[in-house]
Each structure stands twice: as structure tokens, then as C-alpha cells.
Amino acid sequence: MMVDGVEDEEKWLAAGIAGLQQNAFYMHRALDSNNLRDALKYSAQMLSELRTSKLSPQKYYQLYMRAFDELRKLEMFFKEETRRGCSIIDLYELVQHAGNILPRLYLLCTVGSVYIKSKEAPAKDVLKDLVDMCRGIQHPVRGLFLRSYLSQISRDKLPDIGSEYEGDADTVNDAMEFVLQNFTEMNKLWVRMQHQGPAREKDKREKERSELRDLVGKNLHVLSQIEGVDLDTYKETVLPRVLEQVVNCKDEIAQCYLMDCIIQVFPDEYHLQTLEILLGAFPQLQPSVDIKTVLSRLMERLSNYAASSTEVLPEFLQVEAFSKLNNAIGKVIEAQADMPILGAVTLYSSLLTFTLHVHPDRLDYADQVLGACVKKLSGEGKLEDNRATKQIVALLSAPLDKYNDIVTVLKLSNYPSVMEYVDSETNKVMAMVIIQSIMKNNTQISTADKVEALFELIKGLIRDLDGAAHDQVDEDDFKEEQNSVARLIQMLQNDDTEEMFKIICTVRKHILTGGPKRLPFTVPPLVFSSLKVLVRQLQGPEENPFGEEGSTTPKKVFQLLNQTIETLYGVPAPELALRLYLQCAEAANDSDLEPVAYEFFTQAYILYEEEISDSRAQVTAIHLIIGTLQRMHVFGVENRDTLTHKATGYSAKLLKKPDQCRAVYACSHLFWVDDQDNMKDGERVLLCLKRALRIANAAQQMSNATRGSTGSVTLFVEILNKYIYFFEKGNTQINAAAIQSLIELITAEMQSDSNSPDPAADAFFASTLRYIQFQKQKGGAVGEKYEPIKV
């Protein structure tokens, strides 16, 4: 069906073009021989091809364009004809003898053009006559094209100010009147198109109508080009007349297009000065009109206008642009009860952008917009519409983009309320936007109140919101989000300890609601943030960094830390907790709080004993413990002994022999702290190393027993290195002989049959020997010390 239709249409178009060309040919011949009568006859016949009803607007346009070209030639001819003495008035009558109206009117317009140029009659009279006579064409498509022809030929002949066709008083009005009338008639025809033909082809017709819209809109463009249309005329005549037509035509497509057209073709300052009139039309439009887009574009234009120059800003204030727009939007939303929420949100979003651009200093305006939005949303429940949610994000992002400062945004009391209405997914997106904004701008959020508000805003990331689906959360996304939160926590800073502590408490309160999945991400930054406070206090210039009474003492901080880390038990994340405890212990050490440090170590040990069962994790943990413990100087002998003893004990109980061995020799450092003389116990160091050697031995034997080879000598070489270290550090228990015998032992091992070759170990050993050699050759005290060792 459709295909046939299209093919037929092609055929008809071809036939139309052929007919047109044939008559154009005869017309040319008549023109060449100056035969006016034949010229009129054939041109009328040629134009009769435009009487067809069979073509779609697009095809009709092709035909029209050809006729248009021919009419240009005819116009030239008419012009010459009048130069030859033929009266233009006679010509004007003569063409009206044509029996068919469409050709008659095309010819009339063509002669009319020459008539105006001849100036034998005032342009306004000719134009008036033409635009009136064109009423004879009531067929929408044919009428539209005819009138668009009229508009085309008359464009340069309007009696505008400064035009050569300007007559005496007030001819601008005539020019305007002419264009307005043509516009009105064209719009009526255009609107009427929808009623032509069967209902089932409605979609097709609407498409065709859209193709023709620019013919109508052109008139508005012409109006905007008329010099004489100044602000007053625009306000008093043009705009009311155009709007009247737009409102009265009661047609969705036309209203939508024309409103947009008005906004686009007339200058911004006109819009600003006529805002009330223009906005007044919106609530009167059909409910189906996409007002949001149109109005948004208006606001967008005005925003850009405001941005273009600061000089125009007073105008905005003077006309109270914001309140007018705000009112209008309110009315539109009220008038169109079934406007989808998307529409309302888009409108608010545009309004917000507008006010941010125009009145950046008026936070109350922005808040007002948000408030109105909340009001509208409150009637709707949670948003389901995807696009509406997107708009909300845009709405919420706008102030962030504008102020680049969440602190300012936090002043908008309705901001969080809007957030309430988006689904948790969007809430998260928005929260991310907020965090990114903070990071980008390095915003300082320095009071607990603000932090409270901020975390309330981003709660989508902080905790599972009610009813939110837990499944389908992308692991990577989740990590990304939580890392952002972690970064955010690090950003919170206040130099005032008191306030900072409050901030920490606030953050803590929020993140503790996050549940086991989030805590591992959020607790560490909080812990470090707290530790930073302590560090700063230690470095602080004040004599007594901690206020006297009731203020934040390190003890309080540590208590808080302890409680915070405890929450990780429930996750469970014992390894993380252990690390944090150790970190805290070290901080307590720096703060000289022995009991606190001891407590943290205790916690760490308990964790180690009770929660960390994986052998690999244990190895890592024990090394961490040893490393931390080694640096602790706050402990008294007793405490230290206890802890060291425990650590050594743990080391010896590791599952794998090599792990045991390494842990044990690491423990040797616990007894030897370089810069503290009271903590140099050479004997126990040696004990540790010997014990390590025994374990290494045992490891080899085990290996021999189970695999038939003794395995690598790596462990021995490592222990050798420890020997050398303590030897150099001056541990008298470690002497050259011991080193010598160890070297020999390794050498023997390496040469034994059962030893499986291990290039890495060989190289390690060789390097170690080279080091000894090197130290020997250094001479002096060092060389002397190494002298006895033979390699």
C-alpha cells in the first residue's frame, strides 16, 4: 500500500514537472517574442500544475520551486513590459482575468511585486490587496505555498522605516499589519491541515505538517527583521497579536513550534521587557504542548543573555524576571494538572539554572525553586521516570556547578528534601556528583553542622536506603563509590581541634550506619583522620594543645578510635582492624600514653589469636606486629617484655617452618633498638637467631625427609645477614667466629648432594660474601672487625 502510494506520488510529480516544463517552454517563447497574451496564457497553464492535490508537501515543494524559478523570469518580463509602455495597472488587471484562482493569484503576486517597485501605488495598498486576495485559497498546502510566495516576493518591499517603499506616516504599521495578517492566515491553514484526510493517516499528516512549519515561522522571522518593530511596537502590537493567534489556534504542534519560534527570532531584551505577556500565554496553551522544552529554552536564552554582559543584569532586576518566571511556571504546572512530573522537574531545573546565572547572589531564589519542586514532588512519591530522575540530577547539579562550593549549596534548605524524592540509585549518582565537586574544588567543609548536612545528602552512599535492592550492585561501582566516600572523609578538615573532633564524631555516627560492606572502606579514613588530629596537636605550637576541661583530650580520641575499630569485628575484617590497632598504638606511643598503647596492642593480639586463622594472614600480621612493636618506646620493661614474649611466641607457632624461621629472626629486632641503649639485649638477640637457625635446620631436614632434597639455603643466608647486621651494630654476642661457622655451614650445605640448586639463593649468598669482602677491604675499624672472617 505505502510503497504504491509513494510510487504513484513519484509518477504524479514527474507528470506535474513535465506539464510545468512544457508550458514554461511555450511561455518562454511568448516572452521572447514579447507576446503578452500568450505569456499570460501559458504561465497560467503552467501554474495550473500547482493545483494538484495528489502530492505530499515535500513533493509539492519540488514542484513549487520549479514554478518559482519560472515566475522570476515572468516578473522580469513584466518589468520590461512596463518599461515598454504597458501600464502596470492594466497588467495588474489583466492577470486577474485568469479563470482559475491559484494561477491567478500567483500571477497577481508576481505583477504586484513589479507594481510596488514601480511605485505607482503605495506599497501598503498593493500588499493589502494581495494579502486579502490570497484568502481565496483555503486549501492548506496550496494556500501555505501561495502565501509563502507572497511573503517571499514582498520581503524586500515592505514599507519599513528606511525602506525606499516607506510612505508617509505610520507605514511601518502597514508593513507589520501585512506580515501579521499573512502569518495569521498561514497559521490557520497550517493548523487546518490536521483535519484533512482520513484519521488513520494522522501520523503521516503530522509529519507532513512539521515539514511545513518553517513556512509559517518564516513570517515571524520577517517580523523580527522589520526595522520599525521596536520594543514598544513589539510589546503593544506584534507580540499580543502573535500570541492571540498562537493561543486561539488550539493546536499542539503549532503552539509548540510557534512559541519556540517567538523565543528564538526576537531579541532577548524584548523578551525580558515583555516577559509578563509572553509568560501569560503559556498557561493557556493546550495541555499536550511540550511547555517545558519551550519554556526551558526561553530561560536558557535569558540566562545566556544575562551571562553575555553584566550591563544587562539591572534590566533583569528591574523587570523582576525571576518572580515572573517563577509565577508563570507555577501557573503552568497548576493549569496542566496531568503534566508528567518530568515536565515540572525540567521547568524547575531550567528556572534554577536561570536564577543561578542571573541572580547568583540570591540563594533564597534558588531555594525557593527547590522548595517549589519539593512541593510538586511531594504529591508524586518516589520518582519512577528515568528521564525525570535525570532532570533531578541536572537540577541538583546546577547549584554545584555554579557555586563550585558545597558549603553554599548546603545553605539551600530544600536541597536535601529534593534528594528525598529520587530513588536510591539516583541518590547515589547525585552523591557522587557532590563528592566529585568537593574534590575538584578542594572545598573546605569545616564545621560539624555542615558535615552533618553533607552526610545527610550523600546518605545514598553511606548506607543502604530503605527498600533499596541489594542485589545487582556492581562490585566495581560499589568500590568506586566507597572509595569516594573515603576520600571525602579525608577532605574534612578543621584546624580547631574541638570542631574537628565534632566532625569526626559526626562522620563516625554516619558511617557506622553503613553496614559491614561499607565499614572496611570508611573506617580507615576516619581512623587516619582522627590520628591526624593527634599528630597535629603534637606538632601544634600551643604549649598545652589540649584544652583544660571537658575538651578533646587524646584519651578521648583514642577511646573513640577504639570503639570505631571495634565495629570492624562485626564485618568481619580482623586483618584491617589489626592494622588499625597497630596504627593507633603507634600514635598512642607518640602521645606517650602507655596504657592506651598497651590496650591497642592487646586488642591486636586478641584479634591475632582469635580471628586471624589463615596462615598467610598470620605471617603478614606477625610481621606487622613485630615491626610496630619494635618502634614502641613508651612501654615499661614489664609491658614490653610481655608483648615481646607474646610476639616471639606467636612467631614460633607459625605453621610453615620457613615462616617460623623468618618471624623468629625478625623478633631478634625486638631486643635491639638502635637509639635506645636500655633496649639492647644482645643475648636474647643471639637466642632468637640461634633459634631461627634451628628452625631452618629443621626445615631442611623436613624437606629432605619428604622430598629427598634439602631445599634451598636461602633461610641460612638470610640468618647470616641478620648475624652480619647485629655484628656491625656492635652486639658483642655475635662474633666473627659465629659468622665464620655459619658461612662454612652454608658452603657445606650447598656442596652436599642432597641440595637442590637454587640460583637465587646462590646469588644471594655470593652477594653477602662479596659484602663481607668489601667491608674487609675498607680497612680501618670496620676492616679490622671483619678481619677474622675468612671467606
Partner: protein, 301 residues
């Protein structure tokens, strides 16, 4: 027949010339045989004068029982062929019976001739004016020569010329109001008007304005009526909606109109009508006919 004509060649040639023949306006006149010739134009109350010259065929004398010239106004009905009705008949005796040997010229004059009717060539009827010169002869038949001329009578613009305004319609279907600016138009006039659509419930395709001529001849049972559409002028293309007003501007000059003739000598009438026709998409026609009077206005040229 040709040889007969040759055999009975008239004994003399008669020619009729008008006194102001050179200056008088000539207008075309369609003859019965379809040829168009140019003939002089007169109006009522004019003097019709000129000369008749009779020239015997070489070397022959013409004996005659008298020479006369007649001015005839005739109405001829085509369905009653050959039956002329002379409504005007004026005679001037130019010569007493005698003989003509050589070319002889007679002046003639009809003063302030009353010619109330215009020359008219219709479908069924013709009204003509003719000068008839008769050289009566006792034998061999009289020699007769005719000279047609055209009479047109001019009317001053009517003192009362109301517009035609009317509202017509079909209930719940179509209501229109139309207006023609005058009821009396001269031949080169322009009909200005408008059609206002009060109610449109049918899908109109187009609207034409027709000029129709109604020629009625005879009387009583013998009346013949012939209607011709002389002009079909498209006023509107497409379907209007309620409230549309469509302009009319129809120039009459391109059409071959005559003045309205009412009951000419009780023989015939010619009347003109404007017929407004609306055609709907099913090609149904809705029309309203209004008589207009057409008159001839003195041209100032």
C-alpha cells in the same frame, strides 16, 4: 447556382456610403455565414446620412420603376426562419421611375432616427439594423443592396444601484452570506464582493462565480429559453471553515456581454445572472443565482 448568378447578373451595382464613414467608429459584426465584417456604429437619435451610387453594368441601361432606400430594424427568430419582424421601417424615395444610363449618385438622410433597441446576436434571436436600397424593376426582378450597421445605446450610470446581499444556506449544513457591491454593472465593470461562511459542515472543494445569460424568445407556449454560461470564475480553492471571508473581484471586460434586454418589442429578453456555485468533495453542487443588470456606459474615449 454559380452559372445562374452569372446568367442573372444584376443589371447594376449599388454601393452605399455613409456621410461620416471615414470617421465613424467601426465595430465587428458577425454575419449569418459566420464571417465577421466591420460595420459602422450608431446610436439612437443620430442622423444616418450618406450617398447611394448606382452604376449600370457596362454599356447597359437600367430601366426602373423607382429607387428607394429603407432603414429597417428587424428582429429575426431563428426557429421561425425567414420571418422577419420589422420594428422600425423608414423609407426615402430617391428617384422616380426612369432609366439610368450611367453612374448616378443619390444622397440620403434619415434624421434623428429613433433606434431604441441595440443590435443583438443571440442564440435564437437576432436584432439587426440595415439600410436596404431597392431599384425596382418590372421584370428580371428588383436589384436590392443591404448595408448593415450596428446600434448601441448608452445608459448613464443608474441613480440607484443597491448592492446584492443575501444569506442563504442549507440547515445545519452550510450557511453563507454573500454580497455583490452592485446590482447593476456596466460592461467593463468589476464585480466586487465577498462570501462569508457562517457555517460549514460539508467538505467544499471549490467555489466558482458564473455569469449566465438567459435569452428567452417568443411568448406564451412558444417561449424558448436558452441559457449560456459566459464566465466561470474560480473564487475559492479548498475547504473554508466557519468565519472565513472570501473576496470576489471579477472583471467583466474579458467576457462578451451585452446589456440586459428586457422584453424587446415583446419578442425577446436577455437577462444576466450571477451564479455562485459551491462544489463539495462528492461533486455535489450548491448554488444561488442572482440577477444583475448590465448596461452600456458611455465610454469617454
Amino acid at each position: 447556382m454559380n452559372y445562374l448568378i452569372g446568367a442573372f447578373k444584376p443589371a447594376c451595382n449599388i454601393s452605399i456610403t455613409f456621410a461620416d464613414g471615414k470617421n465613424r467608429k467601426q465595430v465587428p459584426l458577425k454575419k449569418e455565414n459566420g464571417q465577421t465584417i466591420m460595420v459602422p456604429l450608431f446610436q439612437s437619435q443620430e442622423n444616418i446620412s450618406g450617398k447611394i451610387s448606382i452604376e449600370p453594368v457596362l454599356g447597359k441601361k437600367v430601366e426602373h420603376n423607382g429607387v428607394k432606400i429603407e432603414l429597417l430594424g428587424q428582429i429575426e427568430m431563428y426557429f421561425d426562419r425567414g420571418n422577419f419582424y420589422d420594428f422600425t421601417s423608414l423609407v426615402r424615395e430617391l428617384d422616380v421611375p426612369g432609366e439610368i444610363y450611367e453612374r448616378k449618385t443619390y444622397p440620403f438622410e434619415f434624421s434623428t432616427v429613433e433606434m431604441p433597441y441595440e443590435t443583438y446576436n443571440g442564440v435564437n434571436v437576432r436584432l439587426r439594423y440595415v439600410l436596404k436600397v431597392t431599384v425596382s424593376r418590372g421584370y428580371g426582378g428588383s436589384v436590392v443592396e443591404y448595408q448593415d450597421f450596428v446600434v448601441r445605446n448608452y445608459t448613464p450610470p443608474p441613480s440607484i444601484n443597491n448592492s446584492i446581499k443575501m444569506e442563504v444556506g442549507i440547515e445545519d449544513c452550510l450557511h453563507i452570506e454573500f454580497e455583490y457591491n452592485k446590482s447593476k454593472y456596466h460592461l467593463k465593470d468589476v464585480i466586487i464582493g465577498k462570501i462569508y461562511f457562517l457555517l460549514v459542515r460539508i467538505k467544499i472543494k471549490n467555489m466558482d462565480l458564473e455569469i449566465r445569460r438567459r435569452e428567452s424568445t417568443g411568448s406564451g407556449a412558444n417561449t424558448h429559453v436558452e441559457t449560456e454560461t459566459l464566465a466561470k470564475f474560480e473564487l475559492m480553492d479548498g475547504a473554508p471553515v466557519r468565519g472565513e471571508s472570501i473576496p470576489i473581484r471579477l472583471f467583466l471586460s474579458p467576457y462578451e456581454l451585452t446589456p440586459t434586454h428586457r422584453n424587446i418589442n415583446n419578442k425577446f429578453s436577455v437577462k444576466y445572472y450571477l451564479n455562485l456555485v459551491l462544489v463539495d468533495e462528492e461533486d455535489r453542487r450548491y448554488f444561488k443565482q442572482q440577477e444583475i443588470t448590465i448596461y452600456r456606459l458611455q465610454e469617454n474615449s
